[in-house]
Assembly symmetry: C2
Homo-oligomer: 581 residues x 2
Amino acid sequence: MNLSDIHSPADIKGMDAEDLMLLSARLRTVLINKLAARGGHVGPNLGVVEATVALHYVFDAPKDKIVFDVSHQSYVHKMLTGRIDAFIDPAKYGDVTGYTNPRESDFDLFSMGHTSSSLSLACGLVKARDIAGGDENVVAFIGDASLGGGEALEGLDTGGTFKSNFIVVVNDNQMSIAENHGAVYEALRELRESNGMSPNNIFRNFGYEYLYVREGNDLRELVKAFSAVKGSDRPVVVHINTMKGLGLPVAEVEKEKFHWHVPFDMKSGAALNPQRSLSYPDLFARQMLRKIEEDNRIVVLTAGTPGAIGFTAERRAAAGDRFVDVGIAEQDAVAMAAGIAKGGGRPVFGVMATFLQRAYDQLSQEVAINRLPVVAVTFGTGVFGIPDETHLGFFDIAMISNIPGILLLAPSTPQEFEEMIDWTLEQDEVPVVVRCPTYPFESETRVLPEKFTGPSYRIVEEGSRVAIIAEGGFLGRATKAAALLREEGIAPTVVQARMLSDVDRKVLDSLRGYDLVVTLEDGIVDGGFGQKVASYMAQFSVRTICKGLPKEFLNGYNASDLLKSLGLMPDRIAAEIKERL
Amino acid sequence: MNLSDIHSPADIKGMDAEDLMLLSARLRTVLINKLAARGGHVGPNLGVVEATVALHYVFDAPKDKIVFDVSHQSYVHKMLTGRIDAFIDPAKYGDVTGYTNPRESDFDLFSMGHTSSSLSLACGLVKARDIAGGDENVVAFIGDASLGGGEALEGLDTGGTFKSNFIVVVNDNQMSIAENHGAVYEALRELRESNGMSPNNIFRNFGYEYLYVREGNDLRELVKAFSAVKGSDRPVVVHINTMKGLGLPVAEVEKEKFHWHVPFDMKSGAALNPQRSLSYPDLFARQMLRKIEEDNRIVVLTAGTPGAIGFTAERRAAAGDRFVDVGIAEQDAVAMAAGIAKGGGRPVFGVMATFLQRAYDQLSQEVAINRLPVVAVTFGTGVFGIPDETHLGFFDIAMISNIPGILLLAPSTPQEFEEMIDWTLEQDEVPVVVRCPTYPFESETRVLPEKFTGPSYRIVEEGSRVAIIAEGGFLGRATKAAALLREEGIAPTVVQARMLSDVDRKVLDSLRGYDLVVTLEDGIVDGGFGQKVASYMAQFSVRTICKGLPKEFLNGYNASDLLKSLGLMPDRIAAEIKERL
């Protein structure tokens, strides 16, 4: 059988165990080729080839409902559900995304990308099935450290009370993105080491029947286990012990590095197009290591994504007990940061902007109400962040800037980024979020004329009649647009909104006689800093235009095309200002 | 010793067991008197009198750090830490709040009010202590169903990995606000029933040593247990079995009703000033019960607060399996609602606005990205919600209206509230949040001229030159202000912003030639609907004023005074408009 003849799981139902093993081997080869050429979640998908084949062999999707947690481990699922061409044919590599998406296939139940939601979503499917009197299996496939997230534990808690079919497959590859953190993983280890026999069983504690599969990459074992639980009338956990990165030697060894990887050389594992420019996460980690040496109160926290904030294994070792990885548990990270601050430490939480959403309430309650000097530094912000609808980094200004008592700062250059962090650590009055730009539009090396000494707007260029006010990420667009306008005899005032959580009344008052104010932000306009400016200027009838990103879940966009279509290129900004004047 | 001579825990250190028991009895009597007169968290505090006395007898606060989860169980703690007069002297009853607050006492570590945060906060205190080389005990006191919340489980997970002192007291009163939900509570039951001996031990699973106290209201037992763990060099759980409401017969029997209660008659338990007006939660629950009968896809969800959404025990029984209480786990509730919608059900999640903050990410990811027709109905919104800084209901517009793809509706009357819910259940295109007003300013019985048929602004009164645009909660202020202005020859156009997540361009375009637009919202101005209107009007240079609440954590405010100080009374609104014209 040609792989391209697999159009749906029905096409593998007649296979015997040897066929299935052969199929798995062929899928893995195809997968490695695509991963090397295009990058992606390498280790996670290589580890679940057999488990995915076994799932689709045993269960009858889409009638049976399989929810992949995070869905970053769904590549093989896509290969088996009508999308194999996107893995075989390099010309079609771009036809599928890296996550499940119902708009791509009926076999995909949800568009997902954040961790730990599969159990609760599956609980909902169970409830809907039970009130409708259905008999399909509901399966949640969770692993790769998602189990330590609060939402997953809440879902585990609810699911354990069902009196009907609910199957949880725990893919235990002994890893998170980096090493595992949290007591839950000690409990998994105990189960692995006792071959599932330890009386200390967290899943039984939560009300589940329990089945352990020691050889989680052995198709026969997996088929046996899944067949045993298919049609179960109770909640049951199948704990499978798999190997992350299986079949690609470099990924088997360097598990953290190959959790997600850009295109690479299959033999050496070297990136094909290594990044040469300065990276903000590197900058951040180096600054933090210096700070840790200087100030013994500093504690850096991550919620399971040390690499995304520049903390390589070497840097983690250098930071020692001053670096804390709580696992993928953002609520815990933020609340723990509040506790550290209360206890006299100086916590700095580095986090992807999209994942900070998980801790909205903790930012508000534990941190802001208590006025604790917690520092959060957000990465992956703005239009140049990850362009997947589940990982967008441009809702953060609207989210953070409207929580009382949190100061949101937006640097425009690496220098300002460091200065702002320095400043936040020198004060202990307010919690601060520093929004790290993703790809600086500004020249990396440009030296700012003055050091950052506190939250205010900065007058970058003095002009008249029209003002362009931009936050850090888009400041370069403002200065470039201003340069174009000056060529035409219009001299705009250019202002950098360095703080986004409030307006600088002094600066805005100086613009009261202006004909036009334009705001630019690398975030959605709704709820953003521009609307704060516009509503301030509106009381003086000053014409104000807010420019930024749309309040939409864009998916797979090209940043340049998007910016063009939104009139956010400097020439279009300049032209629009000319028209409006 | 007079109770009023207790100024700090030092004053009880010399007592023997009998003294402590006598003290507990006297504290309980005082407490019951105040609770009956002023209301509050009755059952939770009566259940922990002995535990609190024992804690302060054994540990040395404030050096030893005790974090009370939710802190609704901190009344006795307050009595023992310099604030006894606020319980003895009716004239001073108002001197303390119902929650811990560092601005009230150094013995209070955090201002808290949402559940499940104590463990993570305490983990932070542990970390800060360990890097500073301190030797104080860190104690988290958690119970009353907080343990099922994801944040608590994340904190339990992190805390279980410590190699140093961390003491968790689990106050197990066999209850949540209503009955307990979730498999964790089955695990607690198993431990209770085995007198702590079951090998199935969730706390040991999470890496804790474990001690069970069967008689959790017995001072000697508690002192013995706390003394045994004091100075522990490991994470340890003390599981105490207490009786909610102990000492007040009506509260011992009607545990749910007396979780929190308004002032009551001590004998009968009857409310002293029973509410006679129509309650929105009652309205909601009755409507939902009708819907459940009409449509077998409807499922109503709560996250541990059925009473707050009108679902009394009788109504829960009537709803049967179409009512789901997931326990205090808002993330799970929202994600499960998404799953139910995907499975063909029609989920309606009733929730206090302040607690919905816990599920920001789930609203965005699980619900909105997936465009699932989940309905959330929020209670306790706006200035007339709970005036505690931890429970404010006026940040919700800014939070929800800036999440893409969620329609936020704001009814102004009971009729409109029901019509909007009807409409949301008749469509299946978008997720909707219906923002229930808390105390309707509008007459309860006023009949709206037209039925709600979809998201748009409603022209309430046609006028000229000036427009007042109000969301539902403040619409009455707009019409009253307009009436005052008409007496002076000014005829404003009055508009109800029935949807807050987007502007109604058609209506706003019709106001382009106006001299003044004023927006009114029962929420913070920052990020609210008014700023959307202002930034829309600002592009046409129409003078716009946004009026609403400040972006601040107000605490213990009087709503009328606050509204006066903000110029939000109809006469002041009218006067301001006159001045500005």
